[in-house]
């Protein structure tokens, strides 16, 4: 984990409030899917966390959704601007030895799964993705997923594209679900909570969010409650947890 300055190579709007940033990162060791960077922003004192969404050589991609002044500031950075980041933070996902793997992305939560899909496909592990969103224009990265997944299933809550219904409902009906050895899910908390309750037999790993102080294990600000009723640090032990190990 290091602090670095990285120039913005591209900032593109993907949908309403959804932006894709490519940054050039120098002097960085390997990064893992699930890891994130802490971005210094104007307007707020603390950094903001964004997950690695993709990688091309030294360049890293981040996808963000504007939800407050921090992400709004990040959404307006211009090409050439230097961003101040710390990372990579958190534990990367342990890439499983065999597939098939199923990736479940809700909303902007699909972003970190793209990088996971890429790494899986590089290792020759079969993976299918369900990319879900409330509505059509909030679906992100579908074309990119198609490049690295065996199959990409799209679903929207309002049926404006792909399957109609909540991601969890769709997942239940898919034959890929039963085939998968392991599932990775990233999305809003209600989605993760629902996934817990649809009786999947396989391990499900969830990419969690939480309000973070430092992202580096210094402050214990990022607690998430474990099954053992203790708090775990999302930034240090996570952000990826076995879904059965945490309370949602």
């Amino acid at each position: 984990m290091i602090r670095l300055k990285a120039p913005v190579l591209e900032n593109r709007e993907l949908g309403p409030g959804l932006y894709s940033l490519w940054l050039a990162i120098e002097g960085l060791n390997e990064v893992q899917p699930g890891q994130f960077f802490e971005f210094r922003i104007r307007e707020r004192f603390l950094r903001r966390a964004l997950s690695i969404a993709d990688q091309k050589g030294r360049n890293l991609r981040f996808v963000l959704k504007t939800v407050g002044s921090g992400t709004q500031w990040l959404a307006q950075v211009r090409v050439g601007e230097m961003l101040d980041l710390i990372g990579p933070c958190g534990q990367g996902v342990k890439i499983p030895d065999q597939g098939p793997v199923m990736l479940l992305g809700g909303g902007v939560g699909s972003a970190p799964l793209l990088y996971l899909a890429r790494r899986l496909s590089e290792k020759g592990i079969k993976n299918d993705a369900v990319i879900a969103a409330c509505t059509r224009n909030e679906l992100i990265l579908v074309e990119e997923f198609k490049e690295v997944c065996r199959e990409v299933i799209v679903s929207t809550d309002d049926g404006s594209s792909g399957h109609k219904g909540l991601l969890t409902e769709v997942v239940r009906t898919l034959h890929q679900t039963t085939q998968a050895k392991v599932l990775y899910a990233c999305g809003p908390e209600p989605m993760l909570a629902a996934l817990k309750n649809i009786g999947l037999k396989q391990p499900v790993y969830a990419f969690l969010e939480s309000r973070m102080g430092c992202g580096m294990g210094l402050c214990v600000g990022c607690a998430v409650k474990g099954r053992d009723s203790r708090y775990h640090r999302v930034c240090l032990e996570g952000p990826v947890f076995d879904l059965t190990e945490i309370e949602l």
Partner: protein
């Protein structure tokens, strides 16, 4: 950059504040350059801490309600102490509900070689009992300080609150009871509201305010109190630059703690130290001692 506090010499006036650098087990390259490190608050029993969310921020403030999450005395002794940094003096921040708690911790730890000294946290706004409730009473501050004094010969810093009390009186009580220094001040009580839910935003209901916005207020308190007590004052509040440290020294602080800024940049202390050195050069200052308390009147 040396500065003396009682019999102890610190390599510079920068101290990493409690709760913002864990137990000092990471970033050794930072820790070895500062004057001292204060650990996260330790309690007799392990504490799991407050429910999330635990942190909120604005441009110039942080509100936290971590709530003294810590491993407890026993695991601190067995798991943390053996790994504690030796490159820099480590002060252990202690929290408790009553005299018994402080006794339980100081009896085993009071003479431990690995510990440079203690910071009595009589000011945490994030716990239901103890914390600030102790620190708002001169009598209780006096009792806890005197007890600690009787259980250790190491330096005792008493960290105080300015909320709902006259911190001038409380500081005097701590000094009279044998404290080696007072630390001014812990976070200000703060409430953040989630308007949609019509509930407090933080899981604990409320938290403590810190960050650059509190600096002018804490500077005022530091100057006031350094003028009325005979023991050294350690400042804590809103430092983000070498200039801020310089200001606290002028206002009468002997050591200056860095808190929230560590969360933004764990290497901040190194930058701040360089800024302070530059400022010393520019202002022709050779040692912190030359400027401590040297703020002139208007």
């Amino acid at each position: 950059m040396n500065v003396k506090l009682g019999k102890t010499t610190f390599r510079n006036p920068l101290v990493l504040a409690s709760g913002t650098f864990g137990y000092g087990l990471t970033f050794p390259e930072v820790i070895e350059k500062v004057g001292a490190l204060v650990t996260k608050g330790i309690t007799v029993e392990e504490r799991i801490g407050n429910p999330p969310p635990r942190i909120w921020d604005s441009a110039e403030t942080v509100v936290n309600s971590v709530g003294l999450e810590n491993v407890g005395l026993q695991r601190f002794q067995t798991e943390i102490l053996p790994m504690i940094p030796t490159s820099t003096p480590v002060y252990v921040n202690l929290a408790g509900v009553d005299l018994g708690d402080f006794k339980s911790i100081l009896q085993p730890l009071g003479q431990d070689q690995r510990i440079a000294g203690f910071e009595l946290n009589l000011s945490c706004p994030n716990v239901k009992e103890g914390g600030a409730a102790l620190g708002q009473s001169s009598r209780k501050v006096s009792e806890v300080t005197a007890l600690a004094r009787s259980l250790t010969v190491k330096p005792i810093w008493v960290k105080l609150t300015s909320n709902f009390c006259d911190v001038r009186e409380i500081s005097k009580a701590a000094a009279d009871a044998g404290a080696d220094a007072v630390v001014l001040v812990n976070t200000l009580n703060a409430l953040v509201i989630d308007v949609e839910k019509r509930k407090p935003f933080l899981g604990a209901g409320s938290g403590g305010l810190s960050g650059p916005a509190v600096k002018p207020h804490v500077l005022y308190i530091v100057r006031e109190i350094s003028r009325i007590i005979d023991i050294p004052v350690i400042a804590s509040g809103g430092v983000v630059s070498g200039l801020d440290v310089f200001e606290y020294l002028l206002a009468g602080a002997r050591l200056v703690q860095l808190g929230s800024i560590n969360l933004v940049d764990p290497g901040a202390a190194l930058r701040i130290l360089e800024e302070l050195k530059d400022l010393f050069r520019r202002e022709g200052v050779n040692s912190p001692t030359e400027i401590i308390g040297r703020l002139e009147d208007r």
